[in-house]
């Protein structure tokens, strides 16, 4: 087991080490000005500074809170709408074009209105994250429902599964594997959007921290923040991947 797992840990670590080495080598050539290209050592010092002040940790909590709110709202509203549209052809015909329009409209284009309507702080960021996740969740849920094999509904009928049980015991479990995949994609999308939203409409959060470091010409801290943002995104996805390990959804990934 351990011999099998060792390369899974060592290989990516080697790649990271190589990238850091390349970074250090490019810095050592002096081709870039120190203020435009911080050294690995400076970034490491920046980490210490941020850990000491606790500011980065607070920004991280703020951003995670906003993503959680916007994402939860999008999922809680998007899944019921998707369930409804998946079952009603007329609803699909009526609403799908406009939903596709909003799905393809970058949520960042809403930033000016988000600020006009909600000011700065949590509300505009949550609004933008909601927009980023809501429409993809609807479309994916809808497609999953529309693709449930009819044989499942016939079996349900045969065995007297009707009404609310049909929803909870047939439709929801039938779409769950696809819904989990959608949650992973849209959570990633939300994490991208929160940084952009906070850069413009924030007074705190990781996006604001990026903007603040830029304004202070602290490129070392900028890199620290970039590393944190990327890492937390990976952690969020790893957390959601755990959902795919539930026994009753494995069928959706194994055939």
């Amino acid at each position: 087991m351990s011999s099998h797992r060792t390369p899974k840990v060592l290989l990516p670590l080697a790649v990271v080490a190589a990238i850091v080495a390349l970074w250090a080598a490019v810095w050592a050539t002096g081709a870039f000005h120190e203020s435009a290209f911080p050294s690995p050592q400076a970034v490491l010092r920046g980490f210490g500074e941020e850990l000491g002040s606790g500011r980065l940790f607070n920004d991280l909590i703020t951003s995670l809170f906003r993503v959680s709110c916007g994402f939860a709202l999008a999922v809680l509203l998007g899944i019921p709408v998707g369930l409804w549209m998946g079952q009603k052809l007329a609803a699909r015909m009526a609403f799908l074009p406009i939903i596709n329009f909003f799905r393809n409209l970058s949520p960042l284009a809403w930033i000016p209105f988000a600020i006009l309507w909600f000011g700065v702080g949590d509300a505009p960021a949550i609004f933008l994250i909601f927009l980023a996740a809501f429409f993809p969740v609807i479309v994916a849920t809808m497609a999953a429902v529309a693709n449930i094999p009819t044989v499942y509904f016939r079996v349900a009928r045969n065995y007297g599964i009707n009404g609310i049980e049909r929803l909870t015991q047939v439709m929801l479990p039938a779409i769950l594997p696809q819904v989990i995949t959608t949650l992973r994609v849209t959570a990633g999308l939300s994490w991208l959007v929160v940084v952009a939203a906070e850069m413009i409409a924030g007074r705190d959060g990781l996006g604001f921290a990026v903007m603040d470091s830029r304004n202070g010409l602290r490129t070392d801290l900028l890199v620290v923040e970039m590393i944190v943002i990327g890492s937390i995104g990976v952690v969020l996805d790893r957390l959601l991947v755990q959902l795919t390990k539930i026994q009753s959804v494995r069928w959706g990934y194994e055939r």
Binding site: V151, R154, V155, R157, N158, Y159, G160, W251
Partner: protein, 250 residues
């Protein structure tokens, strides 16, 4: 309950301009196993949908006396439920959980899948999955079993084994059965009566009773004879007896 769990009276079914069934009358007696064979696309599945009540006839009447359960070609099991949970679907009406569990275990034993109770359908072979479907359909006192080409997705040897299995299960738990299949051997081996449908619009073209007791072997002389008669009727094999007769006359 009457002795006629399934009765079709001059049943027609059209989809728009396409007439699929025309004035089909058919009575199935209690405990009888009727197989319906016919060319593909002749309306076999439409007939099953009418028998199950999933679809309604354009004209004519269908009477159903008893609880109907259907076994599908494949993927009729809920993939998010284990073997035991899928079988327990057939026992949903039992309020007593321990009784439900006991009967589920009986059914698992009946299809000889002990040890696989907690497996999910995707972890089983196609043949095992169909056995679970049969067990689910046989749960409790379901009366009428509708089989929609239940073994058609399986390889030949597995199909032969599952036929034996079905015959054995029905021996232990007798049911009124309507089997729809394109497999004439399957029909002849399993059924008391084989009904051959015509091309669309489907009518009963030929009907053949097979008296030999069930369960019977595929190579039982009655089965072989029935296969030959059906194939002859469908114009696929020549009638040796008649041909011999002509020669003698000539």
């Amino acid at each position: 309950m009457s002795g006629r769990p399934l009765q079709l009276e001059k049943v027609s079914r059209s989809f728009g301009p396409v007439e699929v069934l025309r004035e089909l009358s058919l009575t199935i007696s209690r405990g009888e196993f009727v197989a319906v064979v016919g060319p593909s696309g002749c309306g076999k599945t439409t007939l099953l949908n009418l028998l199950s009540g999933y679809d309604q006839p354009s004209s004519g009447s269908i009477e159903r006396d008893g609880q109907v359960r259907m076994v599908y070609q494949q993927d009729g099991l809920f993939p998010w439920l284990t073997v035991a949970e899928n079988i327990a679907l057939g026992l949903r009406h039992l309020k007593n959980k321990s009784e439900q569990e006991r009967q589920t275990n009986d059914l698992v034993g009946l299809i000889r899948l002990e040890g696989f109770e907690r497996h999910y359908p995707h972890q089983l072979s196609g043949g095992m999955r169909q056995r679970v479907e049969l067990a689910r359909a046989l749960a409790c006192e379901s009366d009428i079993l509708l089989l929609d080409e239940p073994f058609s997705s399986l390889d030949y040897l597995t199909r032969l084994r599952l036929r034996q299995e079905l015959a054995r299960l029905l021996d232990e738990r007798p049911r009124t059965v309507a089997l729809v299949t394109h497999d004439i051997e399957e029909a002849a081996q399993l059924a008391d009566r084989v009904i051959v449908l015509s091309e669309r619009p489907a009518q009963i073209r030929y009907e053949l009773g097979i008296a030999a007791a069930r369960p019977r072997d595929l190579t039982h002389p009655e089965v072989v004879r029935a296969v030959h008669r059906i194939l002859t009727e469908m114009g696929i094999e020549h009638d040796h007896e008649k041909a011999a007769g002509y020669q003698a006359a000539g």
